[in-house]
C-alpha cells in the first residue's frame, strides 16, 4: 500500500452492517479493501472474508437458479445413460453370451443389449452437448455480470480511492481476478456437477447392486472428509497469498510499460529485471504452496480408492466362492468402483479451483464493498433550466486526512464570471477546483451551484453542468474524432470538427496521416503533450457546460496554440462561469476576477487591472512575468 502524503479524505463509509455476516463488529474496519494486505488473517477474519465472497458468488448465481436446476437434471439423466454402459456389458456377459452359447442359440438378448448400449451412448452424448453448452452459457453470463458489476463500480468509486489503490491493483482485480473465476467456470461447474452426480448415482448403484459390498465401498468416506477439511484450511490461506503476489506482478508490469521511455532513458532495465524476478519468484512460491496441497490430496484420494477396491475384490471373491454373488455383479461392481473414485479426484480438483477463485472473489467483493465517498444523492434536487452557473462556497472546510487544505472558505462566483486562481503549489487552488467539480465533498460547509448543494445534484446533471479540464489530456484508444466526441458522444462529425477548429486544434489534426480518423493508439497517432491538451480542450468545448473548470489545462501549449485557445476562451467563456488555474499570467489576463490564494485562504481578490495596479503579491508576480516577456 502506498503511503503517499495525501491520504484520501473519505474512503470507506460503513454501510449498514450486514446481518448475514458473523463477526461484523470485529472486522468492521475490514470493509472494502482494507483487510486486503493483512499478512496473517485470523480464523474469524478468514471466515468473514470467505462469507463475503460466498455471498457474492450466490448473488451472481441467483439469476440462473432455474438454468442450474435444469442443468442438474440434464447431467443426472446423462450420467444415468453413461453408467448404463458397464451395466449393459455386465448383462451382456451374464445373459446374452450364455444365450448365444445355449442350444438353440438365441441372438436376441445380444441384439437388445447392443441396441440399448447404442441408445444409451447417443442419449449420453446428446445430453452432454446440451449440458456443456448450457453450463458454458451460464458461466459466461456470470462472468459478464461480474465484469460489468466490478467495472461499473470501480468507475463510480471516487478519485480518492483510485489514488490510494493505484491503477495497477485495480487492473489486476478486473483482469486476473475475474479470470481466476473464469477458470472455475471453464473447468469447474461442468466437472463438479458431473462428478457430484456421478458419485451420488454410483453410490446408489453400488448399494443397490449389492448392499454388503456397497457398505464396504463407503468405508473410505470418513477418511475423505478429514482430508477435505485439512485441504480447505490450508488452501484458503495459500490461494489468498497468490492473489496478492500476482497483483504485485501486474502493478510492476503496468508501471514499467506505462513509463517505458523513462525506464530506458535512465537504464532502469537491470534493476527492473531484479524487481520483477523477485516478485515473479514470490508468486511462484505462493503458487507452489497452493499446488503442493493439491499434489497431496489427489494421490491420497487415489490411495483410499485403491484400498477400498482391494477390500471389495477380496470380500467379493469370497462371496462369489460362497455362491452369494454372481461373477458378473462383482465385475460390474469393480468397474463402477473405479468410476466412483475417479470423479472424487475431479471434485478435489474442482474444490481446488473453487479455493483459487474464492480468493479472487474475496478481493473482488472487497472492491465491490467500497462505498463512494461522494455518493449520488438518493433524492436528487433538479437544477434550474437553463443552469445559470452561480457557484457558492459556503463556509467550506476541507483537508486530506487531517491536514487542513482549506481552513475556511467563503466565496461567491456569480453566474458568467471568469475567475482565475493564482498561488503557489499547495495553496489550495486544485482543491478548490476539485470541490467545484465534486471530486470530493467538503468536510464541513457546502458548495452550491445555482443554490443547489452539489451533493444533492444527480451525477449526470452535475456533469452536464460542470466540466473540468486537467493538464494531462488523457487519450483513449480510438480516433481523434472519438476522443473529441468524448465531450459529447451525441455530437456529429461536423460539430466535432467545429470544436477542434474553434480551439485551434484543426491544423495539427488535419496534418495527421488520416486526419480526424487517425487512431491515437497506432503508430503515427502519437500526440505531444500540447496536442493532447488541445484535444482535452476541444472535448470541453463540445461538452458546453455552464461551469468550466480549467486546472492548468494549457501548461504544455506553445505560444501560438495558447493564443488560439485564449481567443477561443474569450468567446467560450463569455456567457459561462469559469474557474481557471493557470501558471501563465497571460491566461489570467482574460479573467474578470483574480483570486490570489495562500495556505487555503484568499489573500487578494479583484480584477486583474486592479490587482496589477496595487502593491500586493499579484502585482509582484505580474511584474516578474512582464520582465520575462520579450
Amino acid at each position: 500500500m502506498t503511503s503517499s502524503g495525501t491520504a484520501a479524505p473519505v474512503t470507506t463509509a460503513s454501510g449498514a452492517p450486514d446481518p448475514v455476516v458473523g463477526p461484523v463488529d470485529v472486522h468492521a474496519d475490514w470493509r472494502g479493501v482494507a483487510g486486503e494486505d493483512a499478512e496473517e488473517v485470523s480464523a474469524s477474519g478468514s471466515s468473514f472474508l470467505r462469507g463475503r465472497s460466498r455471498r457474492l458468488l450466490g448473488e451472481l448465481l441467483r439469476p440462473h437458479r432455474r438454468a442450474l436446476w435444469a442443468l442438474l437434471c440434464v447431467i443426472l439423466v446423462q450420467n444415468a445413460a453413461w453408467l448404463a454402459g458397464p451395466l449393459l456389458v455386465g448383462i451382456g456377459i451374464d445373459h446374452a453370451v450364455p444365450a448365444l452359447l445355449a442350444e438353440p442359440a438365441d441372438p436376441w438378448p445380444l441384439v437388445w443389449t447392443t441396441a440399448a448400449m447404442v441408445a444409451a451412448a447417443a442419449l449420453d452424448t446428446g445430453l452432454r452437448y446440451v449440458f456443456l453448452v448450457g453450463s458454458g452459457r451460464v458461466g459466461q453470463a456470470v462472468l459478464l455480470a461480474l465484469r460489468r458489476r466490478v467495472f461499473r463500480h470501480v468507475q463510480q468509486l471516487p478519485l480518492a480511492f483510485h489514488e490510494r489503490y493505484t491503477s495497477g491493483k485495480t487492473i489486476s482485480r478486473l483482469t486476473s481476478d475475474v479470470e481466476a473465476l473464469a477458470e472455475l467456470v471453464d473447468e469447474g461447474l461442468d466437472g463438479l456437477l458431473t462428478a457430484l452426480s456421478s458419485v451420488l448415482a454410483i453410490g446408489v448403484v453400488l448399494l443397490v447392486l449389492d448392499l454388503p459390498l456397497g457398505l464396504v465401498a463407503l468405508l473410505g468416506f470418513p477418511l475423505l472428509l478429514v482430508l477435505g477439511r485439512w485441504f480447505q484450511r490450508r488452501s484458503t490461506v495459500a490461494y489468498r497469498r497468490t492473489r496478492q503476489t500476482i497483483a504485485a506482478l501486474i502493478v510492476q508490469f503496468t508501471e514499467t510499460f506505462g513509463g517505458i521511455r523513462a525506464v530506458q532513458a535512465f537504464r532502469r532495465e537491470p534493476r527492473n529485471d531484479e524487481l520483477h524476478a523477485a516478485l515473479n519468484e514470490e508468486n511462484r512460491r505462493a503458487q507452489h504452496e497452493a499446488f503442493w496441497l493439491i499434489a497431496v490430496v489427489v494421490p491420497a484420494v487415489t490411495m483410499i480408492g485403491n484400498l477400498v477396491t482391494v477390500a471389495v475384490l477380496g470380500y467379493g471373491a469370497l462371496r462369489v466362492m460362497d455362491g452369494d454373488l454372481a461373477v458378473g455383479v462383482l465385475v460390474s461392481f469393480l468397474l463402477y468402483l473405479r468410476r466412483f473414485f475417479d470423479p472424487l479426484q475431479d471434485i478435489a480438483m474442482f474444490y481446488n479451483s473453487y479455493q483459487s477463485a474464492g480468493a479472487a472473489l474475496e478481493k473482488l467483493s472487497g472492491v465491490l464493498e467500497e462505498r463512494s465517498g461522494v455518493p449520488d444523492p438518493v433524492d436528487p434536487q433538479p437544477l434550474p433550466h437553463p443552469v445559470s452557473g452561480e457557484v457558492v462556497f459556503d463556509d467550506v472546510r476541507f483537508g486530506y486526512g487531517g491536514a487542513p487544505v482549506l481552513p475556511r472558505l467563503d466565496l461567491v462566483v456569480p453566474a458568467g464570471q471568469t475567475v482565475a486562481l493564482v498561488g503557489a503549489t499547495g495553496a489550495g487552488k486544485s482543491t478548490l477546483a476539485r470541490l467545484t467539480a465534486r471530486f470530493y465533498d467538503p468536510v464541513e460547509g457546502q458548495v452550491r451551484l445555482d443554490g443547489v448543494p452539489l451533493d444533492r445534484i444527480a451525477d449526470a446533471d452535475l456533469r452536464r453542468a460542470v466540466v473540468m479540464v486537467t493538464q494531462e489530456g488523457f487519450l483513449f484508444s480510438g480516433s481523434i474524432a472519438d476522443n473529441i466526441a468524448f465531450g459529447r458522444p451525441t455530437a456529429t462529425r461536423a460539430e466535432v470538427e467545429e470544436a477542434a477548429r474553434a480551439i485551434g486544434a484543426d491544423a495539427f489534426v488535419q496534418a495527421l496521416p488520416e486526419g480526424y480518423d487517425t487512431d491515437v493508439a497506432q503508430r503515427g497517432g502519437r500526440l505531444s503533450a500540447g496536442q493532447r491538451q488541445l484535444v482535452g480542450f476541444a472535448r470541453a468545448f463540445l461538452a458546453d457546460p455552464a461551469v468550466l473548470v480549467l486546472d492548468e489545462a494549457t501548461s504544455s501549449l506553445d505560444v501560438p496554440s495558447e493564443v488560439l485557445v485564449q481567443r477561443a476562451l474569450q468567446t467560450l467563456l463569455a456567457d459561462r462561469t469559469a474557474i481557471i488555474i493557470a501558471h501563465r499570467l497571460s491566461t489570467v489576463e482574460i479573467a474578470d476576477r483574480v483570486l490570489v490564494m495562500e495556505a487555503g485562504r484568499v489573500v487578494e481578490d479583484g480584477s486583474p487591472a486592479e490587482l496589477v495596479a496595487g502593491t500586493g503579491r499579484f502585482a509582484d508576480l505580474h511584474r516578474a512575468w512582464a520582465d520575462s516577456l520579450v
Binding site: 502524503g5 453413461w82 453370451v97 497431496v296 503549489t425 504544455s556
Partner: protein
C-alpha cells in the same frame, strides 16, 4: 480499435508452435522426464487391477481356491499403493517444473519487452502486453503442468493398451483400431477450428485489458466529463463480444468432447457383439472376453480426455504464438557488435549530422507526422533551445540523443563518436533526459530521483532537489523515503515535473536533454528553477525544448525547427529581430495581452 497484429496465417492451427516451449523446458528436462515416467508408470499400474480381476475370476474363483486369493490381493494392494505414490511423485515434479517454466517464461518476456524499442511500444497497447504476460503465460503453465503430460501419457496408454488388445484377441483389436478412423477425421477438423477460436478469445482478452487500463488510468477525464456511461458501454461491447467468442469456443469444445465421449461407448457395443460371437465360436473364453472388455474400459478415460487435452494443446499453441510475436519482435536499438566505451567529456560536444528520421517509402512517416532532416552542432557546455510549433519534430529530436529512437539517416555524435558506437549503457549514463510528461514510479522519492544513478550520495540528491526547487519533498510524511503513488498521482503536475527535473540533473550528466521542463510550474517557482538551473547548464551541454521566452532565455543559442528542418539558428534577440516566424512563435504573449486589453 487497438492493434492486434494478426498471427501469420501459416502459424494458425499448428501444434508446432509448441516447440517454442522447449528452450524453457530444457533446464528442467530431468523433472519433466520424471513427470512423464511417473505418469506412465501410474497408468501402467492401473492396468494391473483389471488383470488381477481377470486372474481372480479365472483362478481362485473358478477353482474355489481361497488361499490363492491372498497373493493376488497383496499384488493388487502393492500396485494400488505404488499408483498413489507415483501420482504424488508426478504432481510434485510437475509443480516444480511447470511453475519454474512459467516463472522463466514471464521473466524472459518482461526482460525482452523492456528492451524493445519505443517504436515497438507505441504500436502495442499495454493491455495486449499484460494479457500475454499473465493469461497466456498461465495457459502455458497449465498445459506444461497438466495437459501436455497427459496428452503424451494418454496417447502412450492408448498405444500400449491397443497393442495389448491386439495381442489378447487380434480380431477384436482390429475392430477397435478401425473405429479410430472417424474419430481422427472429425477430431482434426474441430481442433483446427478450436485453435482459431481460442486465438480470437485470447486477443479479445487483451483488448478488454486495454479498456480496463484506459478506464482506470483515465479516470480523471472520465469523471470530469461524467462519461462513465460511455466508457462502460465501450467496455461492455467488448465484454459482450468476448462472451460471444467464448460461447463459440464452448460449442466447438462441446462437439469435440461429445465425439470423444461417444466413440469409446460405441466401440464397447461393437466389442460386446464381436466378443459374444468370438465366445460362441469358441475363439475366446468368457474370462478372456471379461478381461478384454475390462482392458478396453481402461481406455475410456484416456480417449475421452484426448478431446479436451488436444483442445488445451491448441489453446496453448495460440498462447505460444501470441508470446512468440513479442519475443520475435526485433531489438532494433541495441549495441553494435564489439562496441566499447568511448571517452566522452563532461560537457561533451553534441552534433546532429544530416540526421534524418522518418520512414520514407513505407507510406509516409510512421512514428510522427514529421520527417526530420537536421544539422546542429552544440558545443561543449553550450545550451541550445529548440523552438518550433507543435508537431515540428522537437520531441523526436530529443528522443534521438539517448537513442530512444534511432536515426534513419545521418548520425548523432558525442565528442565525435557516433552514438551508435557507444554502448547503450554508457550513452544513457552520459545523456540524461527529462520528458514532457513527468513519469514517476511507485517507489520512494529518493528512488525516483536516483533512477539513473542509484549510487548518488545524499548531498548530490539534495543538490539536485535544490536545483529543481523540489524541496517540498522534505515536508512529505517520510521525507525522501515517502513512497509516491503510481505515476505520482498524489502529487501536483508541477511537483511531478520538478522531481523529473531533479532526476535529470542529478550527477551532472555530460548532455542534458530537457523537453519543456518548466511547463507546469507557476511563475514564481519557474523563476527560482531557472536561476538554479543556470549553474547546471553552464557546466553541461544541453538541448532544451522551449515553448516560452522565459525558458529560451536559459539557452546560449536557439534553433528554430519548422516542419522537421532547422530554419534558423542564432541568439534569441537576433532571431527575434530578424526571423518573423520565430517572433510569431514566442512573442505573441504580449500581443495577446494587448488584444485582451483592447477587447475589454
Amino acid at each position: 480499435m487497438t492493434e492486434t497484429p494478426p498471427a501469420p496465417a501459416a502459424d494458425r492451427g499448428r501444434l508446432s508452435s509448441l516447440t517454442r516451449l522447449w528452450p524453457f523446458a530444457r533446464p528442467y528436462r530431468g523433472l519433466v522426464a520424471l513427470t512423464f515416467v511417473g505418469a506412465l508408470l501410474a497408468t501402467l499400474t492401473q492396468l494391473v487391477i483389471p488383470l488381477v480381476t481377470e486372474a481372480v475370476v479365472d483362478g481362485p474363483i473358478a477353482d474355489g481356491d481361497r488361499a490363492g486369493l491372498v497373493p493376488l490381493l497383496a499384488l493388487a494392494l502393492g500396485f494400488g499403493i505404488a499408483e498413489a505414490a507415483l501420482f504424488f511423485l508426478r504432481r510434485w515434479a510437475m509443480n516444480i517444473s511447470s511453475l519454474q517454466i512459467e516463472r522463466d517464461l514471464r521473466d524472459t518476456l518482461y526482460q525482452r519487452l523492456q528492451r524493445l524499442p519505443i517504436a515497438f511500444h507505441e504500436g502495442w497497447s499495454s493491455g495486449q502486453l499484460l494479457s500475454r504476460a499473465t493469461s497466456d503465460v498461465s495457459t502455458i503453465r497449465r498445459f506444461v503442468g497438466f495437459g501436455g503430460v497427459f496428452l503424451v501419457v494418454n496417447l502412450v496408454t492408448c498405444v500400449v493398451v491397443g497393442a495389448l488388445l491386439l495381442l489378447t484377441c487380434w480380431p477384436l483389436g482390429v475392430a477397435v483400431l478401425v473405429t479410430t478412423v472417424p474419430l481422427t477425421f472429425f477430431g482434426v477438423r474441430w481442433e483446427g477450428r478450436y485453435n482459431a477460436q481460442s486465438r480470437q478469445v485470447q486477443d479479445q482478452y487483451g483488448d478488454l485489458a486495454t479498456d480496463v487500463e484506459e478506464a482506470v488510468q483515465g479516470i480523471r477525464v472520465v469523471k470530469s466529463l461524467g462519461r462513465s456511461g460511455l466508457v462502460f458501454s465501450r467496455y461492455d461491447r467488448k465484454a459482450v463480444r468476448l462472451r460471444r467468442l467464448e460461447l463459440e469456443k464452448v460449442r466447438t469444445l462441446a462437439l469435440i468432447w461429445c465425439l470423444f465421449e461417444f466413440h469409446p461407448q460405441i466401440t464397447l457395443a461393437v466389442l460386446l457383439v464381436g466378443g459374444a460371437l468370438a465366445v460362441s465360436s469358441g475363439a475366446l473364453t468368457v474370462g478372456g472376453l471379461v478381461g478384454f472388455i475390462a482392458l478396453f474400459t481402461v481406455l475410456l478415460w484416456p480417449i475421452l480426455s484426448l478431446g479436451f487435452l488436444l483442445a488445451q494443446a491448441q489453446e496453448t499453441a495460440s498462447a505460444c504464438d501470441r508470446i512468440g510475436e513479442l519475443l520475435d519482435a526485433p531489438l532494433t536499438v541495441t549495441d553494435r557488435p564489439g562496441v566499447r566505451p568511448q571517452p566522452v567529456g563532461t560537457p561533451a560536444r553534441l552534433r546532429f549530422e544530416h540526421v534524418r528520421f522518418g520512414f520514407p517509402g513505407a507510406g509516409g512517416p510512421v512514428l510522427t507526422d514529421v520527417d526530420l532532416d537536421v544539422d546542429l552542432d552544440v558545443a561543449p557546455g553550450e545550451t541550445v533551445a529548440l523552438v518550433g510549433a507543435t508537431g515540428s519534430g522537437k520531441t523526436t529530436m530529443t528522443a534521438l540523443v539517448a537513442r530512444l529512437l534511432d536515426v534513419t539517416g545521418g548520425r548523432v555524435t558525442l565528442d565525435g563518436h557516433d552514438i551508435r558506437d557507444l554502448p547503450l549503457v554508457q550513452l544513457r549514463t552520459v545523456v540524461a533526459t527529462a520528458f514532457e510528461e513527468a513519469t514517476l514510479f511507485s517507489m520512494s522519492v529518493r528512488e525516483n530521483v536516483t533512477l539513473g544513478r542509484p549510487d548518488a550520495g545524499d548531498d548530490q540528491v539534495a543538490e539536485a532537489l535544490r536545483v529543481a526547487q523540489a524541496d517540498f519533498v522534505h515536508d512529505l510524511p517520510w521525507g525522501l523515503d515517502t513512497r509516491i503513488g503510481e505515476q505520482g498521482l498524489s502529487l501536483s503536475g508541477g511537483q511531478r515535473q520538478r522531481l523529473a527535473l531533479a532526476r535529470a540533473v542529478l550527477g551532472r550528466p555530460s548532455v542534458l536533454v530537457l523537453d519543456d521542463p518548466l511547463s507546469a510550474l507557476d511563475v514564481h517557482t519557474e523563476a527560482l528553477v531557472e536561476q538554479a538551473l543556470r549553474d547546471v547548464l553552464a557546466q553541461t551541454t544541453a538541448l532544451v525544448v522551449a515553448h516560452r521566452a522565459s525558458t529560451v532565455l536559459l539557452a546560449d543559442r536557439v534553433a528554430l525547427l519548422e516542419g522537421g528542418r532547422i530554419t534558423a539558428v542564432g541568439r534569441h534577440t537576433d532571431l527575434l529581430a530578424e526571423v518573423p516566424a520565430y517572433r510569431a512563435l514566442l512573442s505573441s504573449d504580449s500581443e495577446l495581452a494587448g488584444t485582451a486589453e483592447r477587447d475589454r
